[in-house]
């Protein structure tokens, strides 16, 4: 008995059940329909706009007559035409071409002379980050000062929340007060001001606590004798912690982290795994004083078997120097300084700056 074709299929791992050609045909039909609907809508708008007297008499609201409706319908029609045409062309270009061929064509398009980077800037180590931004800043003790990675816990979010919420609360307060002055009492709004005010107070306190955390822990300075790093080589490292605090624990370590991005439904998720960790220094009850910051000069050796830094579109292997501190009353802090590891035997070139 012949199977009735279904318009859907189920993907199981790398295998797709169902007819792949039907999928392509369905997509092409959808985008072609979108394009044609857009053409139809745009034609209606243009006829109604420029030759309304030639339109045969019909229901009064069949075609929009006021300016706003015309613009809205016209914009939607143009958007449908463009989306349909571009998507249809893109989908048809993919027919009959393998992933590898498409990638090669894309790479060739990116390397045409007009948009190709200068010869000296072209990467000699493909898919290894160049790390030139890491050697922009000269150090005081050693050759380079490494930039700290942007913290994920920013004070910007709590500040925006507190500011916007409290601004809205004051606007509502002004409305309520003006109502009382004019004899128009608004009891519901007045009642809502109390819980809204409590949320505003909480958001302001949260912002203050975040600011206190950020301001309380002084900056961390990491300098290195050379960069990029080569497996098997030894480097000097200078660490300095500024501020006023009594740290219960302080750790300096070198880590290699696998980082991967993947889609789960409509979300993009990130997962990290520490593939290698080498503790360079570990101490307890470390005193950091504004007059005398904590300083340490360390030696760092990259294992000869180490994998080099790698960066793809969705995957990366990153090497970092991580400084972790635990203290009270300030919260624990963790600061990362990214470094680039090249494969063994690569030549090191000093930054001219």
């Amino acid at each position: 008995m012949p199977r009735i074709p279904t318009p859907w299929s189920k993907k199981r791992g790398e295998r797709s059940l169902g007819n792949a050609f039907a999928g392509v045909a369905g997509e092409a039909a959808f985008y072609a329909s979108l394009f044609l609907i857009g053409v139809f809508g745009l034609s209606l708008v243009l006829i109604n706009r420029f030759a309304p007297d030639r339109v045969p008499a019909g229901p009064a609201d069949a075609i929009p007559s006021n300016d706003l409706s015309v613009w809205v319908l016209g914009t939607l029609a143009v958007a449908a035409i463009m989306t349909g045409a571009i998507s249809l062309l893109f989908r048809l270009l993919q027919v009959g071409a393998s992933n590898e061929r498409r990638r090669v064509l894309a790479d060739r398009a990116g390397s045409i002379e007009m948009i190709r980077p200068p010869e000296e800037d072209s990467p000699k180590l493909p898919h290894v980050p160049r790390g030139s931004w890491l050697t922009d800043s000269p150090g005081e003790r050693l050759r380079y000062r490494l930039p700290v990675e942007a913290s994920e816990e920013s004070v910007f979010g709590p500040a925006t929340l507190a500011l916007l919420w409290n601004s809205a609360w004051f606007v509502l307060l002004a409305v309520a007060v003006s109502g009382y002055w004019n004899g128009q009492h608004r009891p519901i709004l007045t009642g809502l001001l109390i819980p809204f005010g409590a949320i505003g107070w909480w958001s302001f306190r949260f912002f203050l606590s975040q600011l206190r955390q950020r301001a309380g822990v002084g900056s961390t300075i990491v300098e290195i004798s050379n960069h990029p790093l080569i497996p098997g080589s030894t480097y000097q490292l200078y660490i300095s912690q500024i501020g006023r605090m009594q740290l219960k624990r302080l750790t300096v370590q070198m880590t290699c982290e696998e980082e991967t991005f993947y889609r789960q439904g409509t979300d993009v998720r990130v997962e990290r795994h520490e593939a290698f960790c080498q503790v360079l220094w570990k101490g307890r009850e470390v005193l950091v004083d504004p007059q005398g910051p904590w300083e340490q000069q360390l030696e760092l050796t990259i294992p000869l078997e180490a994998m080099h830094s790698f960066v793809g579109t969705h995957n990366a292997i990153e090497w970092k120097i991580v400084v972790k501190g635990t203290s009270k009353p300030w919260p624990s802090f963790c600061r990362s300084f990214r470094v680039v590891v090249h494969p063994p035997g690569s030549a090191q070139k000093a930054n001219p700056r």
């Binding site: 990638r103 497996p231 991967t260 790698f310 579109t313 995957n315 690569s346």
Partner: protein, 170 residues
């Protein structure tokens, strides 16, 4: 389809020349529409796949008709410095030579021959580590690469993905 590499152990060093040879049999010449051979790397693991084609060789219908299918053919390329083969927990970087045969009825036959791009220093160190078994996490990653390389001296064929109809093997 038979796809072989110039080195039996499948271990290559950066900058070395790789030669891939292929032979196609039991496929009528008039059914072949095109052929692609790619030297490429791709990532495997939890994340979305990244891949890059280092060397690409394509033969169209006319070229195949002129040269025929009975003789062995080859292509060669100089391997890049990076990325080296890697096997981690979340990410693996794998190199391979992938051959696609396009048939006139819209089907594709895909064959893959994996190989390993490893730095010369790393191989010698790995051998030492294999005896001592005292390596770090990173060493273990490369140990597993080497043991896999020994097992993969013969072609691994991942057969046949086709746009429509039932699957066919070579």
């Amino acid at each position: 389809m038979n796809l072989t590499l110039c080195r039996e152990d499948g271990l290559y060093h950066p900058g070395e020349v790789l030669t891939a040879c292929w032979r196609i049999s039991r496929v009528p010449l008039e059914r072949v529409q095109g052929l692609e051979v790619s030297v490429m790397w791709y990532t495997e693991g939890k994340g979305d796949e990244d891949f890059h084609v280092h060397h690409f060789h394509r033969q169209g219908e006319n070229q195949i008709r002129r040269s025929g299918l009975s003789d062995a053919r080859s292509t060669h390329c100089k391997l890049p410095e990076t990325p080296l083969s890697y096997q981690g927990k979340l990410i693996s970087v794998r190199w391979c030579v992938r051959m696609r045969l396009f048939l006139t009825n819209g089907r594709e036959i895909v064959t893959e021959q994996p190989f390993y791009l490893i730095h010369p220093n790393l191989v010698s160190r790995t051998e030492i580590s294999a005896k001592n078994l005292t390596g770090s996490t990173v060493t273990k990653n490369h140990l597993s690469i080497q043991s896999e390389a020994e097992m993969n001296t013969r072609s691994r064929q991942r057969i046949t993905r086709q746009p429509s109809g039932p699957s066919s093997a070579t």
